[in-house]
Symmetry: C2
Subunit: 274 residues, 2 copies
């Protein structure tokens, strides 16, 4: 959900204020599930590649006050927003920089660890990105990658109409060169990029009526908001017509209702270089 492509126009979710709010909502709800086990040894130098508007930066830097983060993004506007978010959070252990994963302004073996979250899904060459990041890692360092997988989505009540709205997002992301279903293939991606000891740990999100905070925070404000975010481009590209879109979104919203169930899987991988 951040942009590491060359031109910011390709970023499927756009750069609106509403989208910034969505990314912050998302990070609040998911923080525990995705990030609680990312704790670096004191004194670590960590590269966060693709920090976006700083949603993960703030969590990581708070969870690791004894480490220093260098957080980069290819979009200057996102870097500015991330810097402001870090300042609001009172963080002093992050340095921000506008930079491109494919043209890293660091010498080899500059970092103890690298962290990449919701970035590879947007890249045409995720394997090459991993190789570039590997080149700035010290021996014995770790790479942590977190990605979603929209193909892991399922819900109740079942609805083909709802699925078609999700498919619009998948198709638009593919048209931009990305892969919204990349989560499932982190293991071969990391292994083929030359990493060792690749360990993938899926993070399954399950929401029913007994978990209203997740229904609001994840199903509604994160996932459905993400799908709704591609309404205009999906209609403009002729991927779907307006009545089908409205029906699909209404059905998706039912999955966050009192009889609804919503399931989604994130994948977190940790790999070493040796």
């Amino acid at each position: 959900m951040k942009d590491m492509t060359k031109t910011t126009r390709e970023y499927v979710h756009g750069y609106s204020e509403r989208e910034h709010r969505r990314l912050r909502d998302q990070s609040q709800t998911l923080a525990g599930l995705l990030h609680n086990d990312t704790i670096y040894p004191a004194g670590s130098h960590v590269l966060e590649a693709g920090c976006g508007v700083g949603a993960q930066t703030v969590i990581l830097a708070k969870n690791n006050p004894q480490s220093h983060f260098t957080s980069i993004d290819v979009s200057p506007a996102s870097v500015n927003a991330a810097q402001a978010a870090a300042a609001r959070a009172g963080l002093t252990n992050v340095t921000f920089q506008t930079a491109d994963i494919f043209n890293l302004p660091f010498s080899g073996a500059s970092f103890n660890h690298v962290f990449v979250c919701f970035v590879l899904e947007h890249l045409k060459q995720p394997g090459e990105a991993l190789r570039r990041l590997k080149s700035v890692l010290k021996l014995g360092g770790t790479l942590t990658v977190i990605e979603g997988d929209h193909g892991s989505t399922f819900f109740h009540p079942r609805s083909d109409a709802a699925w078609r709205t999700i498919q619009c997002l998948i198709d638009l992301q593919a048209a931009a060169g990305g892969d919204a279903l990349i989560g499932r293939r982190l293991f071969p991606l990391l292994r083929d990029a030359g990493f060792r000891d690749v360990t993938v740990s899926p993070r399954f999100v399950y929401v029913d009526a007994s978990r209203p905070a997740w229904g609001d925070g994840f199903t509604h404000n994160t996932y459905i908001a993400m799908v709704e975010g591609v309404r205009e481009p999906a209609l403009a590209a002729g991927l779907i017509d307006q009545p089908a879109w409205e029906k699909g979104i209404a059905d998706l919203k039912a999955s966050a209702g009192p009889d609804g169930i919503f399931c989604y899987t994130f994948f977190k991988a940790v790999a070493m270089i040796t």
Copy 2:
């Protein structure tokens, strides 16, 4: 994967020796993931409804040596097989009985706990089954339900052909009155049957090349074997032609190979009556 329908002919997986072996393979691999947290207080009387060939019975009874199990199934042949499996395992805390969930030969409030695994998916009236089971539970007792959800399946490499073979199984199960995607809706099913404090805990199976025991035991010997088990009825019903079937199975097998990823979600629910 057991039959509680009125006639055994409706059971989608059939009753072959190969199928019995598959059910035993499956229970070995999944035992830890699905059953390790089902521990009853000493002295409990537990009804296992739909014991099938005893795959789960053996695990449950071993994990709970101080409890007594009454294990029923609508198929006399399955009950015989289950009884033999329990004898081979040296179990003395299980009583077997041929009986139908919809016509239970027990008086009200006979059991401290009820356990149902891979049964509701085969029933035309799963909600009614839950109400019947509730009627033989003592106040304060628990019902534990475990079901799969074939719609939760996803894998790498992606393949529409592979998906079509899975869809054959889903369609055949639906034609027999069942629902191979029932796992996701355990929460509303239990709540609407009058249970309280329903807690659903998804059990996510993730298999990559670093987990060969799961690739063999689950992806290949359990899941793909299950799909392959409906080859003849799927072809006979005209749901798919033979070349498409072979291609789909070959693609599914690639998901258990060195570059493959396989994901599946089971749902376990525990509910109370008060």
